[in-house]
């Protein structure tokens, strides 16, 4: 590996928060640049990877990279759930964070060229998929049909509304949205995302699906996709585990015989099924 492209393994690199945006309730995007120019330059990612982010005086946590490997602003989108993420939400532009990574395998890109692609996301499950969606749209001519099926509890909980508008302006990008319960002014579907997926006319052959969301939604969607005939090895997802090191040493993220931080976080459903553990 080119030494400049090596991930930041042990000692966090300092980065500055340059911009903050509210996405949905309790979820904010933090745009950042790495302080050392040579590191900023060398920081290259694959869609589906993650970093370990230090919030100084609070701790470190694992977070997906929602930006495209090409021409996109570096950021993370974080839900406030506990000690460290709450401390991050206190920060303002100009504040510093620490970064190690990028880590993990990432989604396949070269291997799936020529295929139809179905993205199915539930709630903040769109965060880890965003990078791949943009990357694919940046290379639109290399793929067949590209479809996003996205559901959330309510319209207020749909992530990345601005990005979605931009994507919809791309030719040949099909989008379908659903929310759990009817709302005034909502013209999309109502019901769970798996029900929506079941109703749609989705491609089956030469098709890969990327599914991300809470475990209940995930299992229900997989069932529908399999019923339609999509093969288990063509369904990808990212798994989440308690992570402490990100580099395969602390063992907190062990699932079956694999470690999510180095063997994942991207797994095919076929792999997930043979892990022998709850996801």
């Amino acid at each position: 590996m080119d030494k400049n492209l090596m991930p930041i393994v042990s000692i966090p690199e300092i980065a500055t928060i340059v911009d903050i945006r509210d996405e949905i309730e309790d979820v904010r995007s933090f745009y950042f640049t790495l302080d050392r120019p040579e590191i900023e330059q060398a920081f290259q990612i694959r869609s589906g990877q993650f970093i370990m982010c230090t919030v100084f005086r609070a701790g470190e946590f694992a977070v997906s990279l929602p930006f495209s490997p090409e021409n996109d602003r570096k950021h993370i989108s974080v839900r406030k759930v506990g000690k460290v993420t709450a401390a991050l939400h206190q920060l303002e532009p100009g504040d510093k964070i620490g970064i190690r990574g990028p880590f993990g395998n990432g989604f396949p890109f070269e291997e799936i060229k020529g295929s139809n692609i179905i993205y199915v996301a539930g709630g903040i499950g769109l965060i880890p998929l965003r990078s791949s969606i943009i990357h694919v749209l940046q290379h639109r001519q290399d793929f067949g049909r590209v479809i996003l099926v996205y559901g959330a509890k309510s319209s207020k909980e749909l992530m990345y509304k601005d990005s979605i508008k931009e994507w919809q302006a791309t030719e040949n990008f099909e989008t379908h949205f659903t929310i759990d319960r009817p709302e005034p002014g909502w013209s999309g579907e109502v019901g769970f995302v798996n029900h929506l997926a079941a109703k749609l006319d989705l491609p089956v052959s030469d098709t890969v699906a990327f599914v991300c969301g809470p475990p209940v939604m995930f299992n229900a969607v997989i069932k529908e996709l399999k019923l339609k005939g999509i093969k288990e090895q063509d369904i990808y997802s990212t798994l989440e585990r308690h992570m402490k090191c990100g580099i395969g040493k602390c063992q907190h993220c062990a699932i079956g015989r694999t470690l999510v931080c180095v063997d994942g976080p991207v797994y095919t459903y076929k792999q997930i099924r043979t892990l022998g553990e709850q996801i």
Binding site: V9, T54, A58, G94, H242, K249, H252
Partner: protein, 355 residues
């Protein structure tokens, strides 16, 4: 091979102490246990002592360690990260072969695989290792079942074998040879190898009469753990006996799970600490929103034995993860030290069916 006279041992230790911090087995009067410890008083080194209560892993992978320090100035928003210098020459004297094998497992795990653990590497860089053949096993030992003793095969700088009066010394590295030359040790004749072999053979054949506490025919258990063909009732039976105390992980020479935590000091400084952890603890896999994929204790217990004996984990260590030291069996308040678990798996014991 060379001869080290009993009187010369002191000389050797003194010589090493000029350059290295000395660790070795000593008898602790307070606890009445043999412990592997930093020797502030070199005369406390006791190479005849029994297998120490604790393995030497704490020297490379401390129970509790500051791996990083940073200072955050809230006014200016400046951050300064300070690397901790963990590089310190250390000599480990009198390592028993199970513990040396355990250390080599840790080497392969921390230094091999996808990434190198830089903190472990810093501790490892300047080690001098002297192993000590077990001329007779201790009651808890089963290294002959796990191919990790009673004598060291590699990984040492010097290897000692007590012959009843003096020590036979073998160099395993250039560093070791240099020390032998410096001490001017007498070369042992051609009969030395045969003598050493005889001592080891004697030790192996005395397992039947001395090492009575534990046996572990691990190969069948390895198969079962790897393929996952173990009835859930067996895990339940095992899980029901676990107190979730973590003692087994802490005394195991190859257990290496850790936690990382940032601890704020009074000033604007913060220490990033890495501490031992155990897969037996319920919080180990807990995620936000109280979502815990491995809640039942048996789910967590099978993880430990998977780590020690499965084929997939052995690929990381290039051998089984258990080195047969018997410590977990000694400390477990339940009755699920590794040798017992192997028996339960081999015989599919689930409580009701009995032996």
């Amino acid at each position: 091979m060379y001869w080290l006279k009993k009187e010369q041992l002191e000389l050797l230790v003194k010589k090493l102490a000029e350059e290295y911090k000395i660790f070795g087995p000593r008898h602790d009067r307070v606890s009445d246990e043999v412990i592997f410890d930093h020797l502030t008083d070199l005369s406390e080194l006791d190479l005849q002592a029994a297998i120490p209560y604790n393995p030497p892993k704490f020297i490379l992978f401390p129970h509790f360690e500051e791996i990083l320090k940073y200072r955050y100035e809230p006014e200016t928003k400046e951050v300064r990260i300070e690397q901790i210098n963990l590089l310190e020459p250390k000599a480990l004297i009198g390592l028993r072969s199970c513990d040396l094998t355990g250390l080599l497992c840790l080497d392969r795990f921390f230094l091999g695989q996808e990434y190198v653990d830089e903190f472990y590497l810093a501790h490892r860089k300047k080690l001098f290792i002297i192993s000590n053949t077990c001329i007779r096993p201790f009651p808890q030992c089963f290294c002959v079942c796990t191919d990790s003793g009673p004598a060291a095969k590699d990984g040492f700088d010097l290897d000692l074998t007590f012959t009843g009066r003096d020590y036979l010394v073998e160099a395993g590295s250039k560093k070791g040879q240099v020390l032998i030359d410096e001490l001017g040790l007498a070369e042992a004749g051609p009969e030395a190898s045969a003598l050493k072999k005889k001592i080891i053979d004697n030790s192996v054949s005395s397992f039947d009469s001395f090492a009575l506490e534990n046996k572990a025919w691990i190969s069948r258990a390895t198969n079962r753990l790897t393929t996952g063909f173990i009835k859930p009732e067996v895990w339940e039976y095992i899980g029901n006996q676990c107190f979730e105390c973590g003692a087994c992980s802490f005394v195991c020479p190859t257990c290496s799970c850790f936690n990382i935590e940032d601890a704020n000091l009074e000033s604007s400084e913060t220490d990033r600490l890495r501490t031992w952890d155990s897969c037996s603890f319920e919080g180990y896999t807990k995620m936000a929103g109280d979502n815990n994929p491995r809640k039942p204790v048996e789910d967590r217990r099978n993880k430990r034995f998977f780590c020690k004996l499965s084929y997939s984990q052995s690929k990381k260590y290039l051998r089984p993860g258990c080195v047969g030291c018997g410590r977990c069996a000694r400390v477990c308040p339940g009755d699920i030290g590794l040798p017992n678990v192997v028996t339960y798996i081999r015989r599919e014991i689930t409580g009701e069916s009995g032996e």
